[in-house]
Amino acid sequence: MMKVFSPVILLLTLYANSLAQTSSTVEVLYVAGPQGKSGVSLHTDNVNPQTAVATQVGSPISVRNGSIDPLTIGTNHYVYVWNSTASGFIGRMPTGRR
């Protein structure tokens, strides 16, 4: 009998009005780690394309061994964080922050 695998996907919905207002374009870096351990965190940083300086935005989000797929549809920004083997974990998203 085949084992059933249950990937978990965490969808974060981010709104354009949460972005820096001083620039029409924002470079974003998502980092999930450390992988392979409990307590993996997803960090979001805005990166200045002239200075390469990264500035953390919001608070880290608890995930589990997350792989990351960002997506933009119109003015909405989504981040899919998926895990091929985890099941039943509870993610959280800080209210009012991205």
Binding site: P7, E27, G33, A52, I73, Y80, P94
Partner: protein, 277 residues
């Protein structure tokens, strides 16, 4: 600022090796990879739809691609920038064989269906066991898919849309003749980042199809870390063991400008986005 989060759990018969979102935001794909009792390498790709207003996923349960081979197995999936092709990197690990290569599935952007698997290119050398690499990127133009390989003695740079290609070896650039730890191509298809395992340094070669030359940038990156790029090619991220090196890239010259580091301990996964207000 506001944000929401949702969790989805989907059941599959086999491990999901990769989950990919199509650039048009309408579809997503779960790629399962597994070995069967006969030792065949199998892969199935399942189609999801994405709610355009909420981002919610719906599993159509349609298997839009299936692959099975005794020796060849997929090891990486990615979309080109325009989403016309779903690239699949493979390893052919047959007897006395080590080949890395890329195939692709044509993507119907209206239905999300995948077409018949198409061959692209591969890298094979006798000394390929530990130091071959291939890379591909979706171009921002119709010239989708520049590729490079094999390393270990020479690189071939090809533009798949036209079939144009040229070689670079040690007589052109020293790093072209060295062992390759990894390759990465800037999304704008202007430069090739070559992780040189021989001297433990990452070189930047500017791709010029007009002159059929790979010219070296004055900039390098220490070591041979995996490198990633912002979608608009303005930033380079080098994922080291204890930090992420962030570099400003001048795409016209391949020269790196301002540099910073971001602490990051352990193995991390990263992704980049260029967001427009």
């Amino acid at each position: 600022m506001s944000s929401l989060s949702q969790h989805f759990t989907f059941s599959f018969a086999h491990p999901v090796y990769s989950f990919l979102v199509h650039p048009n935001g309408k579809f997503a794909y779960a790629a399962m990879v597994w070995a069967d009792l006969q030792g065949n390498n199998n892969a199935s790709i399942v189609l999801f739809t994405i709610d355009q207003s909420t981002g919610k996923l719906t599993n159509t349960k349609q298997i839009v691609a299936f692959y099975s081979h005794a020796y060849i197995g997929f090891i990486k999936f990615l979309f080109g920038a325009q989403g016309g092709k779903l690239f699949a990197e493979y390893l052919d690990n047959g007897p006395h064989t080590t080949i890395f290569g890329y195939d692709y599935y044509p993507v119907n952007s209206i239905t999300g269906q995948l077409g018949k698997l198409q061959s692209m290119f591969y890298a094979q050398t006798n000394s390929c066991t530990t130091s071959c690499a291939v890379a591909v990127t979706g171009a921002l133009s119709a010239a989708e898919g520049v590729c490079c390989g094999p390393g270990s003695g020479g690189l071939q740079i090809a533009r798949n849309s036209t079939g144009q290609s040229f070689n670079c070896d040690a007589s052109n650039q020293t790093f072209c003749g060295d062992d390759v730890a990894n390759l990465a191509i800037v999304p704008a298809n202007t430069s090739l980042f070559v992780g040189d395992a021989t001297v433990n340094e990452t070189f930047i070669g500017n791709i010029n199809f007009t002159t059929s030359q790979l010219t070296a940038s004055a900039s390098t990156i220490p070591g041979t870390p995996p490198v990633y790029f912002s979608p608009d090619s303005r930033l380079v991220y080098a994922v080291n063991l204890n930090d992420i090196g962030i570099y400003v890239l001048h795409t016209g010259t391949g020269v790196l400008g301002a540099t910073t580091t971001l602490p990051a301990s352990g193995t991390v996964n990263i992704a980049t986005a260029t967001l427009h207000n």
